[in-house]
Structures are given as structure tokens and as C-alpha cells.
């Protein structure tokens, strides 16, 4: 693939002009004639029976056009926030990790502060808010439970009809852990905890819904999986799928937080009732209190290593705080339970993991999907093991690193892997050896350097049905090319990457390609943006569609050139027989001919690609879930002020196996953005809950990293050229966040010798740990 002309070269975003001029329309920007405003009434109680919802006074308020409650939802609106399908498109609930525990509005019982009880639509926001205050809800308070460990105890209040509040669990056994521990030279056990982290996309979630005369509903909204949302909506509204249409607007960031939410069905119900367009936009506070953030976790980890550093046993106990509902918790639990086991060459594994209901905000998907908390535990643990073995942490990782061609304990087939190279490159570029050996005591603010490694997927199959992507490439009357993809542009740049792929195959410029916004009436079906599947899977489908279009175009070119279509080459806007560029016709001439000549046709290229992955066996949980695994290593250097506990990041060095960077600038942007989110997770971000109430539901008190918090980032893209990915590409958006928190925590340990086992690593925790260390030293 030496002579790639577009793929592999940085290209500015195809929607960049729209984004910098203010013309890009996001969901809160959509305005329709006669549009009215929706607002949601939420439970103020963490756990309460909802006896009666009296809307009569609100309904009499002038300007109120619709009020909806659970009574307005069709029967059978129980739902999961995700569906996983079998071959017939039935919900594969029995064999895949999923729970069906939600309704559009909470019915009978409110289970967290923020649970949706009712909604109104009125002529303006003031009227809608006044109407909410006039709705009278009779609550009967129930005892709440907030701590998942308490929620599992006998006698704890139950949220749903499940024993010990356990929504889902995994029991995994591989090899023989007892035997493994028996062989171990060192064993270490520790409990790690991690916090709620909010996606905090800058663009709030909004939806505009409109119903036409035939009862067909259209929604303008921001979704990571519009096709799945169409199915969920049609189920929940009791409408056939043909009556639901979704237009994707520009998306103001997603990071896992813009999967299907209650916003869309509630907005649709309001529009159906009011028979007017309705806009429902969450406030920032609502985003914080009621949009599923990254779960809080409790992890007990025990690992053993032999004298030479080989990891001989791993035993893990995980409690994932689900909050009030399951959401996508079961598959996040799956990720926490299994993913890191394929990073190193573990053979003896014992894991018990639980998803547990509590009366707190339901957790959901967030970049990394269960991987970041578990990787924090594992990679912190690796450092401690290295210390016990008197080994360099880099050496210990290299000793155990996954290698290409191996099959992991869970059946994951590693077809490309540059983990070793990533570790070596990150260590070298960060001057690891030199900085690790540096004397620390001389500084008033000690410096430290730490490493974290990670593994991730490029798409992850949890169920037997279609997990692929479809794409269509058409060629217009003036040589302009349209690319229709069902994959979601969230800002990550997939429109540009897909356009580059089409340009590469058709031998044209990216500027000649139009990438329309997704519309479920016209766009081909794809699963959407999650699990790092878009480029790897959607890119393959797009490439096939472009090749199909090219072959059709070559038929017309062959007529003009009197050549064999199989001999033609498309390059730099021209088509010619291989080896005879002087005989070229232009792409434009051929496109025009296909469109205009008698007996011509519109060229429509089709591409479908379903990855060669398999869902885990429901019993053994064994199976090659992804067609490509990604790896990376990150080194963080920090300075810690022992007087204040403040951690200053000095620099990051991140080496990631991206397979192949189709758009290097965009890949770099993904890695930089993820590193900073990872730094937020590691050091500062924390949704503080007190008795089920979110204490800091705003950007003043929930602190995101700002420009003042960033440090130089050295990004290294290692290209392992995956045999399955398009041009060798693997997913890149999620991995870079996974290893950041442990790299930081390990650097803090290296700097001041205290290990913080709970995220985020705050000044308060550091000071407390330093005091405890000092007290211990004195007492000895």
C-alpha cells in the first residue's frame, strides 16, 4: 500500500467550514414553524412510590399544549436502552448481556433523583416551567440504598424484582488460580475504587419532534446509533418503524453519552399529543443529574507473579454501581470483567463481577466502556508487583505483553499487535530509564514518571445478529460523488475519513465528495459510533461501496477507451488502462456519460461488511469478540507539591497501535482529546453524590480540564497494519483514555511514594496518604 494518495495523509475535516462559521446546526438550533417547548418533571426523591400524578391544574394553564405521563405511553414500553439482536431481529435478551428494566416514564416507583415522572409542552419555556410546578405528584417515600455493597446485603431495599439488587453478573474461570498462586513468588491484593465521571459533552442533548398529517413522526436529534434509536422508538411509541424518521444534526460531542435516552421518546410523545413540533433540550443540570455517566466501581484485585515476573494468577471481584437502571451496564460489566485479561498473557483467571442497582443516577457508556476503571486497577497493581519483584515496571510489562498471533484466555485472536513496540517507544521517547533513576529527594516538589498500558477493541460483538455496516456511493451528473453511510459523525471526524477512503478508491479529491447528514429514510443501515467500530467496520463497508461504484464506472470508461474494464486504473481524476496513462479519459467525462448517455444509469455502489467476530458463548464466555484489538502505552511525568498535594502534569508520551492512521491529524486529535479526558478522570473529575443527590451538577463545581491544565503531549502512532481493517486501520478514539489515569497514579507514586487507590487522585487524598505514611514512619 505504498502508493496511497489520500488515505494516510492528514486532511482537514470536510465539515470544517460549517463548524467555524456558526452555520453548523446542532439539535438545540433546530427551529420549526409553530414549534413549542418541552420540559420534564423529575422525581426529587431517590426512592419513592409514585401514587398519583395530578396534571389537571397544569392542563388549565393558558399556553400549555400537552402533558404526558406514564399513562400516555403505550403498553409494553419496558425497555433496555440498547437492543441486541439475533438473526431474526428479535431481542436476544436471553443469550446476551442485557436487562429490560426501564420505561419511558418511571411507572409506580421513582428510583433516583431525576427519574422522569411527567413532561409538558407549552408555548414558551416560562409557561412550561410554570406548568411543571402545577403538576401534583403524590409520593410515598421508600427507604433508599446508595452504596452498592450495602445494596447486595440481605434485607437491603430492593429497586427491582431481583435478588440482592444484582442486575447482572459474570462468573469467569480460566485455568487454575489456586495452582497459579501456589507458584507465585509475590502476591499482591488491593481494593480500588473509581468515581462517576460525566461525559460532559459541550453540546447538550436536544430533540425536535414533528408529526405530519399521516401520523409519521420526524425527529431532529443527536444520536450515536440512529438506526437502533429508530427501532427503540417505534417499539416504545407503538408505531411501525416506517412511521419514525430520524435526522441526525451536528452532534455536540458524545463520548458514549448520546446513545438513546428518554429525551427522544418523551419529545415524540409530546409532539404526538400536541400535534405541533416540540423541542426538548436538557439543561446542563439535567445532563448531570439524569444522563448516564461512567459508573462508579469497586474492584478487589489479587495477582501473583513468578520470580521472573510472569503473571501466574489473577483473581478479581468487581461491583459496578448500576444506579437505578441497567442501561448498557451488562455489557460494560462484560468489558470490565474480561478485557484487560487479553492485555497480558494471563492463563489462570478467576473473576466474579456484579452489576448492582442503587438509588443513584444510572451509569452508562463513556469512552472506554468499563475498561478505564479496570485498567486503573490492573496497571496500578502491575506497578506494585514490579516493586515487590524489584523489577522495572516497563520490564514487567514487556515480559508479559500480548503478542501478535496469540489467542488469549478468552479466545481473542490477536491478528495485529504492536504493544511491545508501543511500550518501548513510549519509554524511549519519555527518557524513562533516566527519569526513573533520578534522585527525587533533592526537589521541594518531587517529580515522578509512570506508565500505563491498555488493550481495546475495534467493535465488540455481544450478540449473534448483524454487527456490520452498510454504505452507498453514488456518482452524480457533474462527477460529484455522494457517500451515504449509516455511521454517526460525532465530531470524531468519520465523515472525513470515509470521504478519504472513497477519494482513494475512485482516484478523485476529497473536495469532490459530498457526505450528507444521516437520515434514517435514506442512509444505509449501520450500527453507529461505539466500541471503536466506526472506522474499522464502517470504513470497510465504505471501501467496498466505492470499489463497487468504481467497477460500474469502469464499464462506461471501457466503452470510451475500448479497453477491458478489468484493466483500468482510476487516479488523479483520470481513468486509463494500466500502464498507459496517456490514453486517459477524465473521471468527469465518464461520470457524465454514465448519467446522460441513452441507456446509461445512475451509478450506485453498495458495500456491506460484517466483521469476522463471534459473540461470547453464553456459558463459557469464550469467543473472539472483535476483528481487531488495539494496544497502547502511555507515560506521564508529574510534579507533586507535598505541602498542598497538588499534582502538576509535566508531559505525556503516548504510543498507540492504531493499525493505520487514515487521517493522521484526526487520529492525533482523538488521542490528545482522550488524554485530556483521561487526565480529568485521573486527577479531578468527580460527580459527588450525597444521599442520592448530585452535589455538583454544573461546570463550576464539576471541574473539567481547561487550557491551563494541559501539558505537552507527545503522540506516537504505531502502525501495525491490521490484516482485517480498511488499509490496516483499527479503532482509535477510546483507547487513549484507558491508560491515562493509571499512568498518572503510578507517576504520583514514583514521585512521593504514596499509592492512591481511588480515583480521582486529588490533593486531599495525597495529603491524607502522606500524613498516614509519616505517622507510620514515626511509630516504627
Amino acid at each position: 500500500m505504498a502508493d496511497l494518495r489520500v488515505v494516510g495523509h492528514s486532511h482537514p475535516r470536510v465539515d470544517g467550514l460549517d463548524k467555524v462559521t456558526g452555520t453548523a446546526r446542532f439539535s438545540p438550533d433546530i427551529k420549526l414553524p409553530r414549534m413549542i417547548v418541552g420540559k420534564i418533571l423529575r422525581s426529587p426523591h431517590p426512592h419513592a412510590k409514585v401514587f398519583h400524578v395530578d396534571t389537571s391544574r397544569a392542563a388549565r394553564l393558558p399556553g400549555v399544549k400537552a402533558i404526558v405521563t406514564a399513562a400516555d405511553t403505550p403498553d409494553g414500553n419496558r425497555r433496555s436502552s440498547t437492543y441486541q439482536f439475533d438473526d431474526q431481529g428479535e431481542r436476544a435478551a436471553s443469550s446476551t448481556p442485557m436487562v429490560m428494566d426501564q420505561t419511558v416514564f418511571c411507572e409506580g416507583v421513582a428510583r433516583f433523583v431525576g427519574d422522569e415522572v411527567a413532561a409538558v409542552a407549552a408555548i414558551d419555556e416560562e409557561t412550561a416551567l410554570e406548568a411543571l410546578s402545577l403538576i401534583k405528584v403524590d409520593y410515598d417515600l421508600l427507604p433508599p440504598v446508595f452504596n452498592p455493597l450495602k445494596a447486595m446485603e440481605p434485607g437491603a431495599p430492593l429497586l427491582h424484582d431481583v435478588e440482592r439488587n444484582i442486575a447482572y453478573k459474570f462468573v469467569i474461570r480460566r485455568g487454575d488460580v489456586e495452582e497459579g498462586f501456589a507458584q507465585a513468588h509475590v502476591i499482591h491484593e488491593e481494593i480500588y475504587t473509581t468515581q462517576l465521571q460525566h461525559q460532559a459533552y459541550l453540546g447538550p442533548t436536544a430533540c425536535v419532534a414533528d408529526v405530519d398529517g399521516a401520523g409519521r413522526i420526524s425527529l431532529w436529534t443527536e444520536l450515536q446509533s440512529p438506526f437502533r434509536a429508530r427501532r427503540l422508538l417505534s417499539d416504545m411509541l407503538g408505531l411501525p418503524a416506517s412511521k419514525v424518521r430520524i435526522f441526525q444534526t451536528h452532534v455536540g460531542g458524545g463520548f458514549g453519552g448520546k446513545h438513546f435516552k428518554r429525551v427522544q421518546p418523551i419529545c415524540a410523545l409530546l409532539a404526538l399529543k400536541a400535534r405541533r413540533p416540540v423541542r426538548l433540550c436538557l439543561t446542563r443540570e439535567e445532563e448531570f443529574i439524569a444522563s448516564p455517566p461512567r459508573h462508579a466501581t469497586h474492584i478487589r484485585l489479587k495477582m501473583g507473579a513468578s520470580r521472573d515476573g510472569a503473571l501466574v494468577a489473577k483473581e478479581t471481584y468487581i461491583v459496578l454501581n448500576s444506579g437505578a437502571y441497567g442501561e448498557v451496564g451488562p455489557i460494560i460489566l462484560d468489558t470490565m470483567t474480561k478485557r484487560v485479561d487479553s492485555l497480558y498473557r494471563f492463563a489462570n483467571i478467576k473473576t466474579d463481577s456484579f452489576l448492582v442497582y442503587t438509588n443513584t443516577v444510572p451509569g452508562g457508556a463513556f469512552r472506554g466502556f468499563g475498561n478505564p476503571p479496570m485498567d486503573f486497577a490492573l496497571e496500578s497493581h502491575m506497578d506494585t508487583l514490579a516493586e515487590k519483584l524489584a523489577m522495572d515496571p516497563v520490564e514487567l510489562r514487556l515480559k508479559n505483553a500480548r503478542r501478535v498471533g496469540e489467542v488469549s484466555a478468552h479466545g481473542w485472536e490477536v491478528k495485529s499487535c504492536a504493544l511491545t513496540e508501543c511500550i518501548e517507544k513510549a519509554a524511549e521517547a519519555s527518557r524513562w530509564k533516566e527519569k526513573r533513576a533520578r534522585a527525587k529527594s533533592s526537589r521541594s516538589k518531587p517529580r515522578g514518571i509512570g506508565i500505563g498500558c491498555m488493550i481495546h477493541v475495534s467493535g465488540c460483538r455481544y450478540y449473534p445478529g448483524f454487527y456490520g455496516s452498510n454504505a452507498v456511493v453514488t456518482i452524480g451528473d457533474n462527477g460529484q460523488v455522494y457517500l451515504l453511510s449509516g455511521e454517526s459523525e460525532l465530531g470524531q471526524g468519520c465523515k472525513t475519513v470515509m470521504a478519504q477512503i472513497v477519494a482513494e478508491e475512485l482516484g478523485i479529491r476529497v473536495a469532490d465528495i459530498v457526505v450528507p447528514d444521516l437520515d434514517t429514510d435514506f442512509s444505509p443501515h449501520s450500527l453507529g459510533a461505539y466500541a471503536d467500530r466506526t472506522t474499522h467496520i464502517g470504513g470497510n463497508a465504505t471501501r467496498l461501496a466505492a470499489i463497487d461504484a468504481k467497477q460500474q464506472l469502469f464499464e462506461f470508461a471501457a466503452e470510451m477507451l475500448e479497453a477491458d474494464p478489468g484493466d483500468l486504473v482510476a487516479q488523479d481524476g483520470r481513468i486509463f488502462p494500466k500502464g498507459s496513462p496517456q490514453r486517459a479519459v477524465t473521471f468527469l467525462e465518464v461520470a457524465r456519460r454514465s448519467w446522460f448517455r441513452a441507456g446509461g444509469k445512475e451509478i450506485v455502489g453498495r458495500g456491506s461488511w460484517d466483521p469476522p467476530s463471534v459473540p461470547p458463548d453464553p456459558e463459557s464466555q469464550y469467543g473472539n469478540v472483535s476483528s481487531a484489538y488495539t494496544f497502547g502505552a502511555q507515560v506521564a511525568e508529574v510534579e507533586v507539591d507535598p505541602k498542598t498535594g497538588k499534582v502538576t502534569i509535566l508531559n505525556f508520551t503516548a504510543a498507540h497501535d492504531v493499525g493505520k492512521a487514515i487521517n493522521p491529524m484526526a487520529v492525533e486529535g482523538q488521542l490528545e482529546g482522550a488524554l485530556v479526558q483521561g487526565a480529568g478522570y485521573g486527577l479531578m473529575e468527580d460527580m459527588v453524590g450525597v444521599d442520592g443527590r448530585t452535589y455538583n451538577p454544573n461546570f463550576l463545581n464539576y471541574r473539567l480540564p481547561t487550557m491551563l491544565d494541559i501539558a505537552p503531549m507527545k503522540i506516537m502512532m504505531v502502525e501495525s497494519n491490521d490484516p482485517v481493517g480498511p488499509y490496516g486501520a483499527k479503532g482509535v478514539a477510546e483507547p487513549a483514555l484507558v491508560a491515562t489515569a493509571p499512568a498518572l497514579a503510578n507517576a504520583v507514586y514514583h514521585a512521593i511514594g504514596v499509592r492512591i487507590t481511588s480515583l480521582p487522585v486529588t490533593p486531599q487524598k495525597i495529603l491524607a496518604a502522606l500524613r498516614a505514611k509519616e505517622a507510620k514512619r514515626r511509630s516504627e
Binding site: 467555524v20 462559521t21 456558526g22 453540546g203 465530531g491 473539567l704 481547561t706
Partner: protein
């Protein structure tokens, strides 16, 4: 209570009838239809709603319309210089300074106001000036780079 105010909006003198308590952000977005200015928080904590008021950057979610009589307001829709993109807009495209683009209008207005005052800022100065503008996507590095590149282009233009 409605009030009539005279403002210059993106270079054009304009008369507006506004409820005095209407926020500038809502006035721009809902009544005038200039939706380029974004609301990320509504509480003055994210900078997505930044516009220039009499040449100075402000959070439009915190300004009441009633106070605006005689004001000169520039929004993202008025950032172009004639038909040309402002150098900072060009640089954001070229350097990858925008991902989802939701913070971008606010960032651009803040960057323009910085460059108006300081044509040759250091990275530190850029980070300080833009620190009230949150971005969740980019990790900021490419934004700092874009502002530097725009500054260089502006300086070259002035010199040439």
C-alpha cells in the same frame, strides 16, 4: 416589559424590541435566529456563548438585553472579514482545532479578541486568555496551535 434598543449587530445598525429580561444569548438565538452562538451551560462557566460586546468578550448567557442600548455586538456570524474567513477560522480548519465544533464559535470569538489586543501571544498567554472556554473534544493542543498560526498570518498581513 418590552423595550426598544438600538444596537450595531455584526456591523449593521439594528433596532430591536426586546423584553428587558431576555438574555442576550436567547435574543440572538431565538429572536434574531443567529444560532451560531451556543449555550453550553447557561451559567457563565463554559464560554460557548462568547460574543464581543463593544470589542470585549462576554458570556452572552449572563447579559440582559435591556442593558444593550447603543452596544456594538459581534457574533460568530460576523467574524468573517467581508467574504473572507478570518485567519483564526482558517487556522481552526487547517490545524484540526474543531472536532464536534460546539465550543468553536466561543473559542473563535475569544481568540479574535485576544489577537486584537495581543498580535504576538505566547502559548502561555493563549492558554490563559482561552482558559474560560471549555472544550471536551480536542484536548486543546490543536486550538493553541491554530491561534498561533492565525497570529502569524495576521502579523504577515499587517507587515505586507
Amino acid at each position: 416589559m418590552k423595550k426598544t434598543i438600538h444596537v450595531t449587530l455584526n456591523g449593521r445598525p439594528t433596532n430591536l424590541e426586546v423584553p428587558a429580561h431576555r438574555l442576550l444569548l436567547d435574543l440572538l438565538r431565538d429572536e434574531i435566529g443567529l444560532t451560531g452562538t451556543k449555550e453550553g451551560c447557561g451559567t457563565g462557566d463554559c464560554g460557548a456563548c462568547t460574543v464581543l460586546l463593544d470589542g470585549k468578550p462576554v458570556n452572552s448567557c449572563l447579559i440582559f438585553s435591556g442593558e444593550l442600548d447603543g452596544a456594538d455586538i459581534v457574533t460568530i456570524e460576523g467574524l468573517k472579514i467581508g467574504p473572507e474567513l478570518h485567519p483564526v477560522q482558517k487556522a481552526f480548519i487547517q490545524d484540526g482545532g474543531a472536532q464536534c465544533g460546539y465550543c468553536t464559535p466561543g473559542m473563535l470569538m475569544m481568540a479574535k479578541s485576544l489577537l486584537d489586543e495581543n498580535p504576538d501571544p505566547s502559548d502561555e498567554e493563549i492558554r490563559f486568555a482561552l482558559s474560560g472556554n471549555l472544550c471536551r473534544c480536542t484536548g486543546y493542543a490543536k486550538i493553541v496551535q491554530a491561534v498561533q498560526d492565525a497570529a502569524a498570518e495576521l502579523r504577515a498581513k499587517r507587515a505586507g
